[in-house]
Amino acid sequence: MGYKMEKHAEYIVEMKNCRKVFPGVVAVNDVSLCLKRGEVHALIGENGAGKSTIMKILAGILPLDGGEILYEGEPFQPKNPMQVLQKGISMIHQELDLIPEMTVWENIYSGQEKKRILGIIDRKAMISETKELFKDLEININPCVKIKTLSVAQMQMVTIVKAIAFNAEVIIMDEPTSAITDREVAQLFEVIDKLKKQNKAIIYISHKMDEIFKIADMITVMRDGSHIATKKASELSREDVIRLMVGRELSNLYTKDGEKSEEYNPEEIMMEVRGLTKYGQFKDISFELRKGEILGVSGLMGAGRTEVMETIFGLRKADEGSICIRGKEVKIKNPYTAIANGLAFVSEDRKLYGLNLKGTIKTNISMAYLKMLLIGRLVVNIGKEKKIVDDLMKQLKVKATSRETIVNNLSGGNQQKVIIAKWLMGEPDIFIMDEPTRGIDVGAKAEIYKIMDTLAKRGKSIIMISSEMPELLGMSDRVIVMHEGKITGKLAREECNQEILMTCSVGGNVNEN
């Protein structure tokens, strides 16, 4: 296993004093990182800490501004992703770059197709080798299906296999578990274990402590573009890592500590959903949302949680069922009427449904309630807009040089804050938040939780879809659990624990009434 060291340098990759400057910011400053074969090296840090940037340098996506890189002891200058790939370094991005309309094997070999004479594609060879690669890693996917028919986790496996097909010795995984279920995570870890045994070096970028301690041999922590520490995982505790990441003690991630918010009134129902049904997606969804409560919505991916919430917000049409807000039945035809009825929607996919990435922070924040800023019926009161935007940015601690910063240049946590700020401007009564902390670092997470808690205390009602158990248990006053388009559990905070939530998520019903 690990004994064939004799011919190799001690480290397969050594990055020494690397530096990267973007206009106005030093993104990576004097960072060194050494990587051994057969080792999982976790790279962690808050968003904006520079970990993606340094990996993009190694992957040849961004040019290096200073320092040097050694590959197997030899100086190595990453020029472009293709050259790096051929050298044996492969990066698996958060946004998986597969071609949906092509088959699994076509994707795995795209860029290095096997050819016979006259350049004719050797289909058979590629299919059988794909099968072989899948077998090695015990992955069960048919190489001949189109990528678009696969789940996110399966696509990830394909990307990993693609890296191996390119003879990758170093595999960089950028937050590989951000969009897959716990069971799929376990599978991914098995694959990573096998890669380790094949003596590959793996760089694992993540925010999730549990995972890191389960899988990593070494941990490197970055903060604000600088290297903070590199240690063996066994020598660090979770608290150590969090402290190193944020540079401060993080005593309690979840601000909510069991006590009811002041305006939490179990009697006062803000919204009541009755028998909401969309054929083929979800059936007979009924629940009520009380004033000042955080209602968690648990379930596995594909349980229909997002679909239900999008229907309530008017993005989809329901086939049956009714919605009452403050005791009055409302007809929500589109987001416009939803907003008019006091709803706000923080979507799961920030970039697709939440933000105008080309726009500034200012135009993003004022997008939903521009009406409030009008002089007459037409003209935007730009002075008032600036003031409100600045206030909201301050209130939510949005970190940016100015309100005119383009949103695309912000970190995930700050982007999420911009979306929340957008809705906050209109003081809606009901927030629907779909995975509000996905892909956000610990520090920003804590801030988002604080914001949610403050909102609830101010009498706002929040529906929070989440796939993270600690988050659900830590933040919710009540939890409803969905499985295959149906509600399989409604639990009060006191009755909740991981086991019960999981039982309901896989279809077991604990609500006997």
Partner: protein, 315 residues
Amino acid sequence: MKTKTMYIKGMLAKYAMYIAFVILIIVLSVVSPVFLTSTNVINILRQISVIGIMAVGMTFVIATGGIDLSVGAIMALAGVISTSLVKGESTTPLMVSLLAGLLVGIMCGAFSGFFISRLQVPEFIATLATMTITRGFCYVYTNGRPITGFRDDYKIIGTGSVGIIPIPVLIFTVIVLLGVFFLNFTQFGRHVLAVGGNEKAAIVSGINAARVKFTCYIISGITSATAGIVLAARTQTGQPVAGEGFELDAITAVVIGGASLSGGSGNVLGSVVGMLIIGVMTNGLDLLNVSSYYQKVIKGAIILIAVLSDRAKKK
């Protein structure tokens, strides 16, 4: 230190187009003594006003991520219909003729807009169809013959002037000011940029994206019709073939002006400067006796340079 030079670089890139424009003017005024005379400047402005007016509407369409190929044909139809109403001894009031021309623009814009926003026909296809249909109507209406001999009160729109400023330039200025006002200072303008930046996010934020797009095609229709009226009045003919290929000139001006064809950006003043660069360049090359064949080659090169410098700016 390094950040400071980067800042300067950033500013240079940001205003590259304006700087290029100023340099162009300086160079031309050195090599040609006629260039900076008031007659020549006014001449340039008069020349660019027709396409400039169209480019204002086109800026709105491109800001939503769309494109309007029908503007040249709308120009022609608005021109022939409005001029036909004031032909010879006709007593139709001038206002009626002008409103009829504008109505043509509104209807053509609404036609494209309907297919694009309600039936999700791709912008390129929908406006290509509108262009072809509209051009067809021009020929049907005129039997393929230009309309001439219309009243002087109509011609004044193209030939008259207030002081030394030609009326077409005044109309152009007013439309530019309106364009700047609507795109930069109104709720509608913000919605246009939001829809162009990310239509789905705009919808989630309660913006009626379909209506925003529909309205932009009507705006483009109105500016095209206005340009058509000005052109007919200036050339003193209602030509069914007028404005052939003008759609590309209008798009060129908007693109040189810094708008991205994928939407979400675009500003009216940028498009005006884009138009000015083309106008000044053409004029300068004319003064220097460069053949119009070469002028086309140069214009094409400018488009590429403009887009490349715009990309450098975003990095």
